[in-house]
Amino acid sequence: MALNRKIAYINLTTGDIEVKPIPLDVRRKFLGGRGLDAYLLLNHSEKGCDPLGPDNPLIVSGGILTATCASATARTHVMAKSPLTGLLGSCNMGGFFAPEMAWAGFHHLVIKGKAEKPSYIYIHNGEIEIRDAKNIWGKTTTDAQWAIRDELNDQEVKSLVCGPAGENLVAFANVMTGIKNAGGRTGMGAVMGSKNLKAIACRGTMDIDIAHPVEALEYNKRFIDQITSAKVNKTQGTLGTPMIWGATNSWGGVRTRNFQYNQCEYADDIEPERIDEICEETMGPYHMSGCFGCQVHCRAQYRIPSGPLKGKYDEGPEYTSQGAFGGEPDCTSAETVLVGNHLVDQYGMDNLEVGSIISWAMELYELGIITSEDTDGLDLRFGNDQALLEMVERICFRKGKVADALANGGIQASRIFGKNSFDYLIQVKGMSNLHSDERATPGLALNIATASRGSDHLRSRPAIDLYHLPEEVLQKIYGNPVPYNGKLSSEHTEYVGKPWQVFWQENCYMGVDCLGICKYHTTFLGATLPNFEDWPKVLYYNTGLEFTPEELWEIAERCNMIERLFNLREGLTRDDLEKGDMLNHRYFDEPTRRGAPDVVGRTIDKEKFVRMIDEFYEHKGLDKKGKPKTKTLKRLGLTNEPSHML
């Protein structure tokens, strides 16, 4: 059964491998997935360890429900100290890797040390082997996966790999599985590269016994019906995540020309419907695909329709690619978006960071802070599609002064570029913001400022804030499983009640990440999707463990606090622009210029924003400096961390 999946400690320096069961009391405290990963990271890393050194533990996991009879339990989570931010590194991806790892007998891997030569780990039905990767090193993400299958002579092997960018220690190199499933953020691919670890390959045929199979099957049907009937998921299943970009751009919530505008005008060629047309032309009417066990099927298949890479197959593009290779650099060609998406998939880089950081460099270029001499003659202007794609390649292989600087991440690069380049960098904690513009949405701004892994929408974004849901509906959602007596506002431009919404979402997302379920199956984009009240049932039927919604809420709070403790240990301070919970000054100073009439002319009110952070800290049980109060740690049972239970 799911609870007998094990944890393995693998030391690449010595070759030692130790396998342990995961005790039930640890499960009851941290469940699994991201929550338990955070606990392991805090316990297995030393303060101030070098993110690219052998002592940084790389932790790979599936959630407690991975591969069980619940919907979309496909998520793999990877955690380590981030080479990009120097704080918490964490990424989460779909695909088929985590289920395969669970069938092979494992839920968590803690990988330490550094292999002497390029290596990969092979896990097969409880056995773990460290193998030579000389035939795989240097290969792109997909080539590497197929080469591993050929070498092991097993086409069912699922691998998690880093691409050339990871090998080259690009600070935002990602880990990937399949064609496009990417654990994109915080540079976990570089951590793999620094360990000489090219891949983790899994193959398993071990039963995961379901505690109550008949009920699990029936409840799963109800759960899936609930998920697939949501309007937003029907749209997702047709257009994929680009539908989000389309809607957001329509009202003016898309960062354009780095941060100069909040809408990409006349972007008809990169609208979701246009991309869908290309997918249909190149892959036929049924061109959507899904991750393991998921009926939302939001992943589009396409072939590049034109240009030098015409005919190349890939999946996506996600809305992040529309932002990265469309809106942010102000390139409005579908081909550029599709090619850019393909390049980052093959090289193994975070598309979001790549697009964002190149757009920043474009703004610096137009301002004269970097010159054509620095770029070796490349005309790095906004809207220059060729320069954009060239830069993607240069960054991956660290070619030239500018690209090499950018490959170390924005903050490092700003020190090299000097002048006031840092002022233009749209980041929090050293990680670039996604392509969204939060100046009209204080709740979302609070989310990116306080997200544990740096500027990020998947940590605590109250995305349904944009739907103008009636207050009683908001109360129904946000007043469960613990009561909330404060005010909530349907108005997304408001500041009131948002800290609670962000706090609630933070716990909700931690919940799904511990379970190993996708965020499209919870209160993220759809108000009618399952959350705390529904999870105890899936958990009980599949694992036999009984929880109340309140207990799951507390677990989520505890896991989030562990992440906070890690960040505090590594130097997070509240107002620090590089390592704190603070936004770039442009959010407060530059009004939005485009979009719907009620969106133009908006900035974040700094005073109100600071008060929101105060209130958010209050909900989390932190003091004004952002440090946990003693009573909070006591309540969550975290007074003795690191407690080394595992």
Binding site: S250, A267, H468, T493, T528, N531, P591, P597, D598, V600
Partner: protein
């Protein structure tokens, strides 16, 4: 057993409010209900006069494809000017 199978969760009960065939205006504080006629590729918000292009996910399921650029751009410029004067 701690699990009550038959009780509807908050999320499940909210499902009943779903409507097809309509969407809301993308002008955030307007949020007027727009109901394009089947097959229409344009719709104009009767409340705030913003205009949108329409795409159809299914026959009964329309969504906003994007703004009618010329119209909404002018509205935005006007609103921006007014707001900056007020400051």
């Amino acid at each position: 057993m701690a699990v009550d199978t038959n009780k509807m969760s908050g999320a499940e009960s909210l499902r009943k409010t779903r409507t097809y065939g309509k969407f809301r205006c993308h002008n955030p504080t307007c949020m007027g209900r727009l109901e394009p006629k089947p097959g229409d590729d344009h719709v104009r918000c009767p409340v705030c006069t913003s205009e949108f292009r329409v795409a159809w996910i299914r026959k009964d399921f329309p969504r906003i494809r994007g703004p009618v650029w010329e119209v909404n751009k002018k509205l935005a410029e006007k609103a921006f000017k007014k707001k900056m004067e007020g400051k």
